[in-house]
Symmetry: C2
Subunit: 231 residues, 2 copies
């Protein structure tokens, strides 16, 4: 396998404080791999034998219920650590990670977790910070789920994806990874039918434009209003 270039990591928070040779050592332990859209990186309940860093692409993290439905808990953007169950003293992954778009992922065997934490304080700090941020995000989803109506939740979710991953186009902000009506339904606890109706409605009002697996927010401001309004 070709040697990975150190510049891959030097700009990222977990590693930005480190000396060149340290980054080299970390990279030499890493495995790089490409995942096609839809491919699982790890699955809920399985042995947490690796931890990961997303270099490029997008990853969807979801949980399944006993009855087979799935709920999408969060999305991972490039530069973020994930599958860091070990930070929480867990032996198994608590959720399933699937490439939402074609993705490039670095991974390390979990036995390196403790050495990394002990040797590289910035890695430890960044890991726990990531966990804290994610806990915050999930709590935010929970309160949203508990207090907002379906239309507001879908609006907020579309807006969040656009903010996290958006790239500007002529028409507005485009969500940078493929997302189906069903995906959005799984994020918001509703059905693909309802999501389809909402998007169709918004499209007629010029708030979004959407095609197959693809959403562009053309009027973010009105979407913000929708996500908050109570009527």
């Amino acid at each position: 396998m070709a040697k990975l270039d150190e510049s891959l990591l030097t700009g990222l928070p977990p590693f930005s404080q480190l000396e060149r040779p340290q980054v080299r050592a970390i990279l030499d332990e890493a495995t790089s791999r490409r995942y096609d859209e839809g491919k699982a990186i790890f699955r809920e309940g399985f042995d947490a034998d690796h931890f990961f860093l997303l270099l490029d692409g997008f990853v969807r993290v979801s949980r399944a219920t006993e009855t087979g439905e799935q709920v999408i808990v969060l999305h991972i953007s490039p530069g973020q650590l994930f599958g860091i169950a070990r930070a929480l003293q867990r032996e198994t992954y608590p959720a399933t990670a699937i490439a939402a778009a074609e993705s490039i992922v670095l991974s390390w065997p979990m036995r390196l977790w403790a050495p990394f934490i002990d040797s590289y304080p910035s890695f430890a700090a960044e890991s726990y910070k990531t966990v804290g941020l994610r806990l915050g995000e999930i709590q935010a989803s929970l309160t949203e789920m508990a207090t907002k109506a379906v239309e507001q939740r879908v609006a907020a979710t579309v807006l969040r994806m656009a903010n996290q991953s958006g790239r500007k186009t002529d028409d507005g902000i485009e969500i940078a990874f493929p997302v189906t009506r069903e995906n959005i339904a799984d994020m918001t606890g509703t059905t693909l039918h309802t999501v389809s109706r909402l998007l169709s409605g918004w499209q007629k009002q010029g708030i979004v434009k959407s095609t197959r697996k693809h959403v562009v927010v053309t009027d973010p401001h009105r979407l913000v209003v929708l996500s908050q309004s109570n009527s």
Copy 2:
């Protein structure tokens, strides 16, 4: 202030691995305090200047939305650490903690956090484990919220409280702390009216008995069925 007895901590996971003198040192830094039912221990957004251990009682952790509604995220039982924002590199508390019943709480100034983590590995491990468990609980609430109907959520929530805090009585399992219909509504994302109707109905069927701020589960099995059934 009277010296606290070492036996308070020796049985608890974060401290059970420690030598007597270590426990003594930890206790000498601690402040003990009683909170009446309904009193706030810390509030969302405030400076995270202390971390806490619940010795006796129950604590409700909640989050407020911009529009004033509140969502109860989880409950803390005796023996658990809480307010450990610092474990996640946070400067402020991400939620509000309120005594659900009269409670006895130990607290330490946050400047001791790093020394504790560094000096006492079992404390560090237990803290991160606690965070992991809580993340799991919140994820479970989220998926429940996203996939289950109101009756199932309320049933599951009552059951969870009974399991976590329940004590056996002649009639069945009694939730050990005061809980109003509104509290349950805030946990399940519904209204106190709907909760009241559900509890009344269940009472008629002999599944629960409830009085003011008080719930006894008389037929846990049927409640389990309700919490899962899909019809």
